[in-house]
């Protein structure tokens, strides 16, 4: 705890999560460690099953137990270990100091409750607001997320809102108690691109107004580039690379990050530069039996024999910007230079 700098809001240490199944325990998250400063926006990217969503849900005790269980680690939030808190105390954190926005706004709102009733819930639980005061606050929150004619829409049901508006309502609920941290789990994935852009713009504006830290979980690198200060690439329940977003995108040190970046279409090249999109060969490892070495090694053309045998630690990448960490035995820039590949 003494290591935490005064500005550290969230300090995740060696977090592990497993799900017990009939065919053995599935190790979804394995020794994830990172820190988040106050007001920082962290983008976490990775494919389905990389543990990016599960590890944040586990922090707040939101994974179903059983079959899920936290196998180890600490999650220090504002100096307290969330994993050691009793359920009752954890409930005060959920929705209070930590707000959540879920993936699908179509299914994250209760279809049988008015929007006002759903915004008021956290206000009642965490701020003790009720009646007229809570309603006034709910209207202010709808104004905050730029829903026009908020007062008239309070008593409407979710089905009367469009997808983008519902996600705005979800953000209003997430921000209702002025959280220090907002966790958005694939918050724009289910929305079409123009609405996505609106929501991202809104979150950035709200961040300037409220100043909360954000963990933005997505598999969309473009969104991360637009919103995050720091990016963290996860694979097979581990962090493979992490660092300032510009630095990681310009100078990736993990072959997995490189593969993700290469799989993006490059519109700047125009029609003439059109190329077949890159595809990462193979499939993620069976997490019932995590590989002993680098989990990405079997799919990695640059892997060395050591990658298969021994797990690389997450450490400062040589020659990269400070805070740019990578878990790799191979030296990606050197290998690329040797191949004569230009990105």
């Amino acid at each position: 705890m003494t290591e935490s700098s005064p500005k550290t809001l969230l300090d995740v240490r060696d977090l592990g999560v497993a799900f017990d199944s009939e065919v053995g325990a599935v190790h979804a998250v394995n020794g994830v460690s990172y820190a988040l400063r106050e007001g920082e926006t962290l983008g976490i990217v990775g494919e389905s099953g990389s543990g990016k969503s599960v590890h944040v849900l586990a922090m707040l005790g939101l994974i179903p137990r059983p079959p899920g269980r936290v196998t180890g680690g600490e999650v220090l939030f504002a100096g307290r270990d969330l994993l050691a808190l009793p359920e009752r105390a954890l409930r005060k954190v959920r929705g209070g100091q930590i707000g959540f926005v879920f993936q699908d706004p179509m299914s994250s709102l209760n279809p049988g409750m008015t929007v006002a009733a759903q915004i008021i819930e956290p206000l009642r639980i965490h701020l003790g607001l009720d009646g007229r005061a809570a309603r006034a606050r709910a209207k202010d929150l709808l104004d905050l997320v730029r829903i026009p004619n908020a007062a008239a829409r309070l008593d409407q049901y979710p089905h009367e809102f469009s997808g983008g508006q519902r996600q705005r309502v979800m953000i209003a609920i997430g921000l209702s108690c002025r959280p220090k941290l907002l966790i958005a789990d694939e918050a724009t994935t289910a929305l079409d691109v123009t609405v996505q852009a609106e929501i991202i713009g809104l979150v950035q504006e709200l961040k300037r107004e409220i100043g909360m830290a954000i963990i933005w979980i997505t598999h969309d690198l473009g969104v991360v580039a637009g919103i995050a200060d720091t990016v963290q690439v996860m694979y097979a329940g581990r962090i493979l690379e992490r660092g300032p977003v510009d630095d990681v995108f310009r100078d990736p040190r993990s072959a997995y990050t490189l593969g993700l970046l290469r799989s993006l279409p490059d519109l700047s090249r125009g029609r003439a530069g059109r190329r077949r999109l890159h595809q990462i060969e193979g499939a993620p490892p069976d997490m019932r039996h995590p590989p002993p070495g680098d989990p990405f090694a079997v799919r990695n053309a640059y892997a060395t024999p050591r990658c298969l045998a021994e797990r690389p630690p997450l450490a400062q990448a040589p020659g990269a910007a400070p805070g740019h960490l990578v878990a790799a035995w191979y030296d990606l820039p050197a290998r690329l230079a040797a191949e004569g590949v230009s990105r």
């Binding site: 707040l60 939101l62 409930r91 005060k92 954190v93 959920r94 929705g95 209070g96 959540f100 879920f102 993936q103 699908d104 299914s107 994250s108 709102l109 209760n110 279809p111 049988g112 409750m113 819930e121 956290p122 639980i125 965490h126 049901y157 089905h159 979800m170 609920i173 209702s176």
Partner: protein
């Protein structure tokens, strides 16, 4: 027919000129914007069979409530001058073997049938819903205990169980209601549990947990309202089954006790006079048929109208 918002239950059936039912029809007050209840009402009344079922149910309920005004005679008054007399102007439905007016007994018998149907299902829901909610939401050992008990009850056919319980409790209409209610409980435990588990897996339940709701609040405020439609449909259909069960128990002498009228016990007596006085059997039989049909039509209509797949 499809015009909504002006339920006029007095139009068909008895033609008694009685004031319209106030608290009986599930009509919702018209509102400016199409709220969820209004939308439900529109979907329900879009189906002709559901309207027929609803109208008959309302008419039967009115008949039961206002039996004292509708029935031309005291249902237990005997007219020794008219034993098993065939239908005529004095006794439109004829009389039975001790001179009871069959029409009056049909009208009063609706009290026993509908009363038993509604009361027993209310009891079944009141018992089944909490247990199903606990089993579905709490899970674990409580779930296992409740469900094994439910399985044991479900292994016994509904009517056999009701007969056994009624025989054990002793013959009376109240005991018959209790017996039917207890027999129907396991269905509601099972349905509630399945519905709770389905709703609990929805993303908005996770969202509700993520804002710090305690479990009891999630169960009562977020899950319960979302399973009401399924329970309502099942309850309506179970009322039909309960009406048959009450008639069966009364037929066997375990329900309504003579001389108090019940459609089932009327059939029991009538079976001895089928050739001499068929009207004694036709009217109570037709009444049971009509009531059961109406509740089934209404239940089917409710199921269609509340089907979440048809909602926007």
């Amino acid at each position: 027919m499809s015009h909504v918002g002006s339920p006029r239950p007095g139009v068909i059936g008895a033609g008694t000129g009685l004031p319209p039912a106030t608290g009986l029809a599930p009509a919702t007050p018209p509102r400016a914007e199409p709220g969820p209840f209004r939308a439900f009402w529109n979907r329900l009344t879009a189906r002709r069979s559901a309207i027929v079922g609803l109208v008959i149910v309302v008419a039967l309920i009115l008949m039961a409530v206002f039996a004292d005004w509708i029935a031309p005679y005291d249902p237990i008054a005997t007219d020794w001058g008219a034993i098993r007399s065939s239908p005529d102007w004095a006794h439109p439905f004829g009389t039975d073997e001790v001179g009871h007016d069959v029409l009056s007994r049909i009208v009063f018998g609706a009290r026993a049938s509908l009363g038993a149907g509604l009361t027993s299902v209310a009891l079944a829901v009141a018992l089944g819903l909490p247990f199903g909610l606990i089993a579905g939401y709490a899970g674990g050992i409580l779930d296992m205990l409740i469900m094994r008990l439910t399985d044991a009850l479900l292994a016994i056919p509904f009517l056999i169980l009701a007969i056994a319980l009624a025989a054990f409790l002793g013959p009376s209409l109240t005991n018959a209601m209790v017996a039917i209610g207890l027999s129907a409980t396991s269905t509601f435990v099972r349905l509630t549990r399945a519905q709770v588990q389905a709703v609990a897996a929805e993303e908005f339940i996770e969202a509700a947990r993520a804002v710090g709701n305690p479990p009891w609040r999630i169960a009562l405020r977020h899950i319960l309202p979302n399973i009401v439609p399924a329970i309502l449909v099942q309850a309506t259909l179970t009322i039909a089954a309960a009406i048959i069960a009450e008639a069966s128990l009364s037929f066997l002498g375990l329900g309504q006790q003579p001389p108090e009228p019940s459609w089932g016990s009327m059939l029991n007596v009538a079976k001895n006079f089928l050739e001499q006085a068929p009207w004694m059997a036709i009217w109570p039989g037709a009444s049971i048929f009509l009531a059961v049909l109406a509740f089934n039509l209404l239940g089917d209509g409710l199921r269609d109208a509340l089907d979440p797949r048809q909602r926007t």
